[in-house]
């Protein structure tokens, strides 16, 4: 296999970002190519089919299924309101009457003479897709959505929770090693994307949600705090749909880990700027990582030179981060890439590399346990 190491997460000051914004079902696109949009602008809308409410009219009226056609006051395609009588059984010499009322408003979708079941379809549910980022509409997918493009800074996280949101960047800690506690959070954080250091406590994230912060970007997060905050243990890393009132983006991993200096510096340099963030994470085929997008001010259509951004191979001098114990979270640069397989302490044989850490110490680690720090 070509790459024994994990390609790193992208942290870049300047890149052309393109986002496809697609409806769940075909509908109407309400912007046109060349339009400039803001995060909250609606770019497309559609209607999802309404919910279906089945009920067995034959059972309710005490009729054999094949007789309900006669008892139905409403026919297929008719509109009904909640509580409206939709079927009535013939009375016994006019003495007894059974009626069946609609449990919900909607349209009669089908009447079955086999089961006696009537299906009522509720009103369609409107769905809107917003722009999510500031940018230019560069492509229209007819009836489906658009592509929006902007120049900006881009930071990929390793794990997140909560969906798309946006706010101004507010760095509340002195440096990338500081723990973000609830003391750093106050009413000024409302609507902001808070930048912390090496870890956020459960109390801090709860307080951030309480004051109405849009999100938190942090180096590390303790699994125990995650469980306390979510109220359940996350079994599989598919996130983004949590309704927790705040979006969290973890840049390094679980536990207390300093946010990479470069990431912290980049965020700090963008203080007060708009950040569009999404915590959605999916770690399986078709990996999705959480992201922070900071669109540039000014003319986002300007054709700037793209930061030279391409995936580089691993070589001597490559900056790397160790992503597993016993050197988890340490940063360094590659000093040797021996070709033969080497025996690890665990007695597994694997391809390794030698890394020199910032403090000058060196260690041999499996190539699978480092990730490139990309620029």
């Amino acid at each position: 296999m070509g790459h024994a190491y994990t390609p790193g997460l992208k942290v870049t000051d300047k890149i052309l970002i393109k986002k496809n914004r697609i409806l769940p079902l075909k509908g109407e696109v309400i912007v046109k190519k060349g339009d400039l949009v803001k995060p909250d602008d609606v770019i497309a809308r559609t209607h999802l089919p309404g919910p279906v409410e089945p009920f067995n009219v034959a059972n309710i009226l005490g009729l054999p299924p094949e007789d309900i056609e006669e008892a139905m006051l409403k026919k297929q395609g008719d509109t009904v309101s909640e509580g409206e009588i939709i079927a009535r059984s013939k009375s016994f010499f006019g003495l007894f009457k059974s009626e069946c009322r609609a449990k919900a408003s909607g349209t009669v979708e089908s009447i079955s003479h086999v089961t006696g079941q009537v299906l009522l379809r509720g009103r369609p549910i409107p769905v809107e897709v917003k722009a999510y980022i500031t940018g230019e509409v560069v492509e229209i997918f007819e009836k489906e959505g658009v592509a929006i493009s902007t120049w900006g800074s881009f930071i990929q996280g390793i794990f997140g929770i909560g969906g798309e949101t946006h706010g101004e960047i507010k760095t509340v800690v002195p440096d990338n090693t500081a723990i973000l506690t609830d003391q750093f959070i106050n009413a000024d954080c409302k609507g902001k994307v808070i930048v912390g250091g090496s870890m956020v406590t459960a109390d801090a994230i709860k307080k951030a949600a309480k004051v109405g912060a849009a999100g938190v970007v942090i180096g590390g997060f303790d699994d125990k705090d995650l469980r306390d905050f979510l109220g359940y243990d996350l079994g599989v890393a598919i996130t983004g749909s949590e309704e927790i009132g705040i979006t969290l983006i973890v840049t390094e991993g679980f536990g207390q880990i300093n946010m990479a200096q470069r990431t912290f510096d980049l965020l700090k340099s963008k203080e007060g700027k708009l950040a569009c963030i999404n915590g959605a994470t999916q770690i399986r085929a078709g990996v999705i990582r959480p992201e922070v997008i900071i669109p540039f001010d000014g003319d986002i259509r300007a054709k700037q030179k793209d930061a030279d951004f391409r995936e580089m191979g691993l070589g001597i001098g490559s900056p790397v981060r160790v992503i597993r114990h016993p050197h988890f979270g340490k940063l360094g640069s590659v000093t040797d890439l021996p070709a033969p397989l080497m025996k690890l302490e665990s007695e597994s044989h694997a391809r390794v590399l030698e890394v020199e850490f910032k403090d000058g110490s060196r260690a041999v680690v499996p190539r699978a346990n480092v990730e490139m720090i990309e620029s």
Partner: protein, 617 residues
């Protein structure tokens, strides 16, 4: 390619297109026997930017070419066939689980009866069952409709009712499907296939309800009478639709399908097939397990009361060693995982380590402590997957059992599991954590601790996960598939001898006398709570050595011939050897922490699981 006479097949090329890697193997008939020659692999290319599965196949085949020196591709990158000298292959076949494999929804009337039969058919065909909708699954109809609409499976299998029984309930479910108007996962230009395998009397009404909305196929009832399942026709239809719809929609598969000499099979379906063939050929009972990053598959063939082999497959969707590792931890709970570790670890640190493995799934354990911890989690993942399997592999439910007075003492309840650990002959493990364990005896102990085999059970691991290719090969050349399975695919670990039963007080559990092939005799008494390893390896050809043994379980323990009954048998060795397990069944670890750690270390040292220095730190 022209169909060949199976006897004339000398060279076989087979690939398995997995979700991340495409693996190719080359098999040749040399000196009258089929053997694996080389293996190559390359990243799968189903997703962007390639979006053509054949690119990954060609890369993997290219590696096989380089390693074997056999030219397999012509200048137009076409597979050369038939073989001529050192050029070409006689047969090319493939399996696939790329692009998410085969994803199905199963629907029917009674959860524990017809729906369970349908689920068995879908799983047996190699599908991932996304959800099971039943009239009695406690969800309200509108919730069921919402669920069906959101799932977007590749196909639905609808069952319900025995032939001649009531038709209303199954038509009701058909109406729910119709109301949901489900769309297929791949491709927008075709209608979702729905296979109807229920009460034949309801066929007309089901057709009327669904025909306008879905691509409806009808096959004979999966449960024509309560006492009998008829899974074959539904399984065949699933495979046909898999080729026709799912494969045809995935990028590059139309081309791949035109290359292969046999239909492409879903990977787990092919694994199940080879396990069933091997079990049937030898007339034995077998359990196979494949523990992956996201899921764990368990396959079994049992012969309840001497009946024909009954095959079952289960998929534990969220039990795995990387993507799903956190879920194993959540389901098993921390104390259950940590009971296997001969040292203490900080809970907070452990939880973070597990989550970090989940978000960075390709990392490997560097330190011995991490390896021990990972193997402890693997034992729990396997144990939980096997519990699910046992509860699914049952005799048919809902049948009134006719009992004689003799049966009163041996109550086989309706729905009882057919998994019998005492009669099980072989346990085969597969997947990274088992196949790539640094010491083979680690794989043996993981299998023993998780599955707790009773009596005499052979243990093996799949060396390089080629069971899928061998499964599909068995449809073309059965002999080649079985020969390669036994000689190159399996790594024989050895045999576990575990007397079943419980004893309150310490003391002797079994007398043994084993005549080793070199003339040496190993004899002695195994104490209750003790484990012993006796070396019995492989011969010069790599085949496991055998040894005649006299085994006498003591104090009411049982080796399968009754309590205390002596067994004279032949034991099969392997790279680990004969493991005498005197810990009793059911096996319970000592509750006292200090004693537990002492016992774990004692067993691990005896079996040479980890180095002494690692255990003494």
């Amino acid at each position: 390619m022209a169909k060949m006479n199976p006897e004339d097949i000398k060279v076989i090329l087979a690939t398995d297109c997995g979700s991340t890697t495409t693996k190719a193997i080359l098999i040749e008939k040399r000196d009258g026997e089929y053997r694996l020659i080389v293996r190559g692999e390359a990243p799968t290319t189903v997703e962007a930017p390639f979006e053509d599965v054949t690119k990954g196949v060609l890369n993997a085949v290219g590696e096989v070419e380089e390693l074997s020196g056999r030219k397999l591709l012509d200048e137009n990158e076409k597979i050369i066939s038939p073989a001529n000298g050192n050029i070409g292959t006689d047969v090319y076949i493939s399996t696939s689980s790329a692009g998410g494999g085969l994803q199905m929804m199963v629907a029917g009337v009674v959860r524990s009866m017809t729906v369970e039969s349908a689920e068995r058919a879908a799983l047996g065909a190699g599908a991932i069952v996304m959800d099971v909708i039943a009239s009695n699954d406690k969800r309200l109809p509108h919730q069921q409709i919402e669920r069906i609409r959101h799932l977007r499976p590749d196909m639905i299998l609808l069952s319900g009712g025995i032939d001649g029984g009531t038709t209303t309930h199954v038509v009701e479910i058909a109406e729910l499907i119709s109301a949901a108007d489900p769309k297929p996962r791949l491709g927008s230009g075709y209608r979702l296939p729905v296979i109807y395998a229920g009460n034949k009397d309801a066929t007309g009404a089901v057709k009327e309800t669904l025909e306008q909305k879905v691509d409806l196929r009808t096959v004979p009832n999966i449960r024509p009478v309560l006492e009998r399942e008829n899974l074959g026709p539904a399984r065949e239809e699933i495979h046909e639709l898999f080729m026709e719809h799912v494969m045809a929609q995935a990028p590059g598969y139309k081309k791949l399908m035109s290359w292969t000499d046999a239909p492409i099979m879903p990977t787990p379906g092919a694994v199940g097939l080879i396990i069933k063939i091997i079990a049937d050929m030898e007339g034995i009972e077998a359990v196979g397990v494949d523990i992956g990053g996201a899921t764990t598959d368990v396959f079994s063939v049992f012969r309840p009361e001497g009946a024909e082999g009954v095959f079952n497959r289960t998929v534990s969707a969220n039990l795995g060693m990387s993507y799903s590792i956190s879920n194993v931890f959540a389901e098993a709970t921390l104390p259950m995982v940590m009971r296997w570790a001969p040292f203490r670890m900080d809970e907070r640190d452990l939880r973070n380590r597990v989550k970090n493995k989940m978000i960075r799934p390709t990392t490997i354990p560097q330190s011995i402590e991490e390896l021990i911890f990972e193997q402890a989690i693997a034992k729990e993942a396997l144990r939980l997957a096997f519990i699910q399997h046992k509860s699914f592999a049952t005799v048919l439910k809902g049948i009134q059992q006719q009992r004689t007075i003799a049966d009163a003492f041996e109550q086989t309840a309706s729905g009882a599991t057919i998994v019998n650990m005492m009669s099980l002959n072989i346990l085969v493990g597969s997947g990274g954590v088992l196949s790539h364990a640094p010491r083979r005896q680690q794989a043996a102990l993981m299998l023993i601790d998780a599955f707790l085999p009773e009596g005499i059970t052979r243990l093996a691991v799949d060396s390089i996960f080629m069971m899928p290719q061998l499964g599909v090969l068995s449809t073309v050349q059965k002999q080649a598939a079985t020969e390669v399975f036994n000689k190159d695919c399996l790594i024989h670990l050895g045999v576990c001898v575990a007397p079943a039963g419980e004893i309150k007080k310490p003391g002797p559990a079994m007398n043994y006398k084993i005549n080793l092939p070199d003339g040496k005799i190993e004899s002695g008494t195994l104490n209750y709570g003790q484990m012993r390893l006796i070396k019995l390896g492989l011969d010069e050809k790599g085949n496991p050595l055998k040894a005649k043994a006299e085994l006498e379980p003591l104090r009411g323990l049982d080796l399968g011939h009754g309590k205390g009954a002596k067994v004279e048998t032949e034991l099969t060795g392997g790279v680990t050897g004969i493991i005498l397990d005197g810990r009793g069944r059911p096996f319970i670890l000592p509750e006292d922490d200090k004693i537990r750690v002492e016992k774990l270390k004692e067993w691990m040292l005896e079996l040479d699981i980890y180095s002494k220095s690692a255990l003494e730190r």
